[in-house]
């Protein structure tokens, strides 16, 4: 068990190193000169050279990489080229906003998807199961930003129940916070719930075909009892995998949704930095997102160990 844990930890650390290399190599080595990108093509060579020197871009690439990783580890990824604003605090501020959005959406998506997915699986040969399944298929096809636009046009523009966008800090104005959280959360959650429900459906359907469920029925458990007592835990393995992937998708989906609802989250920071050509900020935000995704994968791996005893001893 401890060995399996350590193995997973090693995988996480190597993945993080590889990911940092990919991000760094991509952003720093490929374009040639980030200083030139930041200042634009019209900048004088002298100005570019000065910026390069200020930011240490004239040093050897490995030194720059180690410097950058060191900055990340001490939670200080440096300052922006033009505005000279510190990147770390910006990310910290924006991350809070995005986390609210992502966590709220994930919880809501789960609350919707669990019962719906189960229902779809148990009733997969009946009309209600088929209708739900078809609906979820449509839900999967709707991009979150489209759902956001539709929700805005109905609840903000037509009905005027909630503002169409913006953000306030929960401590300042709890009601306003919830009002502004509602639509973006809903647009992310509805789509994710559709995806999740479909995965739950297929995981449960797979489990329903398993021999041990037939054994459970032969013991005298009724179909739903058998599913609850013996099926759900086994169905959880693939569902947890998808949950991890979805959390990652949500993080990225939030980038677009923040734009739709004008929310000052990590996504907005990323897009603004892209627009301003602040490669250092882009690089830092991308790295934060990728780290989040990899850590989520790690947690999913640990959950496997909790759910499935077979994986603990590495028998399979």
């Amino acid at each position: 068990m401890i060995l399996r844990l350590l193995q997973r930890l090693v995988v996480l650390v190597t993945s993080l190193v590889v990911a940092s290399l990919v991000v760094f190599g991509f952003m720093r080595v490929l374009p040639g000169d980030p200083a030139r990108v930041a200042l634009g093509v019209n900048a004088s060579d002298a100005a570019v050279a000065q910026l390069r020197e200020q930011f240490g871009l004239d040093r050897p690439v490995p030194v720059q990489y180690l410097d950058w990783v060191g900055g990340l580890l001490t939670l200080d990824p440096g300052i922006e080229f033009v505005s000279r604003a510190a990147i770390g605090p910006q990310i910290a501020d924006r991350l809070q906003v995005t986390l609210w959005l992502v966590v709220a959406s994930m919880v809501l998506a789960l609350v919707i998807a669990l019962p719906v997915g189960l229902w779809m699986a148990v009733r997969h040969r009946h009309w209600d199961g088929v209708v739900l399944s078809a609906l979820s298929q449509v839900g999967v096809a709707v991009p979150a930003f489209l759902a956001g636009i539709v929700l805005i046009s109905v609840f903000a523009v037509r009905l005027r129940w909630v503002p169409s966008g913006g953000w306030v800090v929960p401590a300042q104005d709890p009601v306003g916070f919830l009002q502004r959280l509602a639509l973006p959360t809903l647009s992310l959650a509805l789509v994710q719930a559709a995806v999740l429900a479909r995965y739950i459906r297929s995981a449960v359907l797979d489990v329903l075909r398993e021999d041990y469920l037939r054994t459970a029925r032969a013991k005298g458990l009724r179909p739903v009892q058998a599913l609850v007592r013996h099926g759900l835990r086994n169905a959880a393995v693939p569902v947890v995998t998808v949950l991890g992937l979805q959390l990652a998708t949500l993080l990225i989906g939030a980038v677009v949704i923040e734009r739709v609802f004008v929310i000052p989250g990590l996504g907005s920071l990323l897009l603004d930095s892209v627009a301003k050509r602040e490669l250092l900020t882009v690089q830092a935000v991308v790295m934060v997102l990728v780290v989040a995704v990899l850590v989520i994968n790690f947690v999913v791996d640990l959950l496997y160990l909790v759910i499935d005893p077979r994986l603990r001893t590495g028998a399979r």
């Binding site: 040969r125 398993e210 021999d211 041990y212 037939r214 054994t215 459970a216 029925r217 032969a218 013991k219 005298g220 458990l221 009724r222 179909p223 009892q225 007592r229 013996h230 835990r233 086994n234 759910i307 499935d308 005893p309 077979r310 001893t313 028998a315 399979r316």
Partner: protein, 357 residues
């Protein structure tokens, strides 16, 4: 049709309504048919099993032997329907046809009045649940043990009875930590936990090695003997049936083509299919070894389920088939049997045995 009490042999296959509950008959199946809307898979299957009796159900792939078991258990896969009459005399007198009973009531019978051992021990147990809990569950579910702790004590006893080493420790392990033979013993312990009136075994040793098979077969037989349970034992292996059972039903193409005491059916088969099967399976021959390249064979191959010919299901592979075989051959009783005419006879127009063969 018959007087209550011991079922007496009647002319023709025993019709529906033969009373169960009185006497020794535990399971009575009459005119059982199973199929999808278009395809019949099982036709007019009738048999009965007495208390303490071990009846074998033998057949090749597609013969419908497993479907028979699943139909009795009420566990047919979705999309298949069953008709006919299935009665079980367990703790509750079986006044009702199990095929017409609701799921809730059926669930009360399963695992209690009748239970089942399946073919694949590797997948029959829940991989995420300790085996002891899986055994205990069936007792707690039917309330045959007053408490969780009593059930746990009984689990250790049961696991000991199926010859598992260190049962107290083993109860705490997960299925993947056990070998195939050990898992099958756990499945057997689950099936026997509530002392069922009927135990159905569906190819319980097919996936096991010969030495493991021998011990598991022994445990199965001892388990039903100790409980005086009725057993329906399904297999494709003639040797296994002959070893374990007293009486055998031979199935082919979804029908019972021959039935009777093991000794008579295998030593002196009447139906041409049984005859071919016995000849083809007995590689050693009566005197230990047969010459090479002289194995008798049945020509052709077993058709896929639902694709058997009308009339006699074997006629497309039978060298004795004539025009008469195109209509369903009647059941010919072969001798008196306490379990009725369906228990001893065959459905062949040109039977083997006696003088002509």
């Amino acid at each position: 049709m018959t007087t209550p009490g011991r079922v007496v042999a009647t002319d023709g296959p025993a019709g529906p309504g033969g009373p169960v509950g009185a006497g020794r008959t535990v399971l009575r199946v009459d005119g059982l048919s199973v199929g999808t809307r278009q395809t019949p898979l099982l036709s007019d299957v009738s048999f009965s099993v007495d208390r303490g009796e071990r009846v074998g159900l033998i057949g090749e792939s597609g013969s419908g032997k497993s479907l028979t078991a699943l139909a009795v258990m009420g566990l047919l896969p979705e999309g298949l329907g069953a008709s006919g009459d299935v009665r079980l005399s367990a703790r509750t007198p079986a006044a009702r046809n199990l095929l017409g009973v609701g799921e809730r009531e059926m669930a009360r019978v399963r695992g209690d009045g009748m239970s089942m051992v399946f073919q694949e021990p590797m997948t029959a147990l829940n991989p995420t649940m300790r085996v002891g809990d899986q055994v205990a569950e069936v007792m707690l579910l039917h309330r045959t043990q007053p408490s969780r702790s009593a059930a746990r004590r009984r689990v250790v006893e049961l696991l000991g009875q199926v010859d598992l080493p260190d049962p107290a420790h083993l109860a705490r392990s997960y299925p993947h930590e056990l070998s195939g033979g050990q898992r099958q013993r756990v499945v057997l312990a689950i099936a026997l936990a509530n002392d069922p009136a009927l135990l159905i075994c569906d190819e319980p040793t097919t996936a096991l090695d010969v030495t493991v098979q021998a011990t598991v077969l022994d445990l199965v037989v001892r388990g039903v003997e100790e409980r005086d349970s009725a057993m329906l034992f399904i297999t494709h292996d003639l040797g296994v049936v002959a070893t374990v059972c007293e009486r055998v039903l031979v199935m082919y193409g979804g029908r019972i083509v021959e039935a009777g005491p093991v000794q008579e059916v295998f030593a002196d088969p009447r139906h041409r299919y049984t005859q071919g099967l016995v000849a083809a399976s007995d590689l050693a021959g009566a005197d230990g070894r047969r010459g090479r390249a002289q194995l008798p064979t049945i020509p052709g191959t077993v058709p896929p389920a639902g694709r058997f010919p009308s009339g006699c299901v074997f006629r497309t592979r039978c060298t004795h088939a004539t025009q008469a075989c195109a209509s369903q051959p009647p059941w010919t009783p072969r001798g008196k049997h306490p379990a009725g005419a369906a228990a001893y006879g065959h459905a062949c127009v040109h039977p083997a045995g006696g003088d002509d063969d």
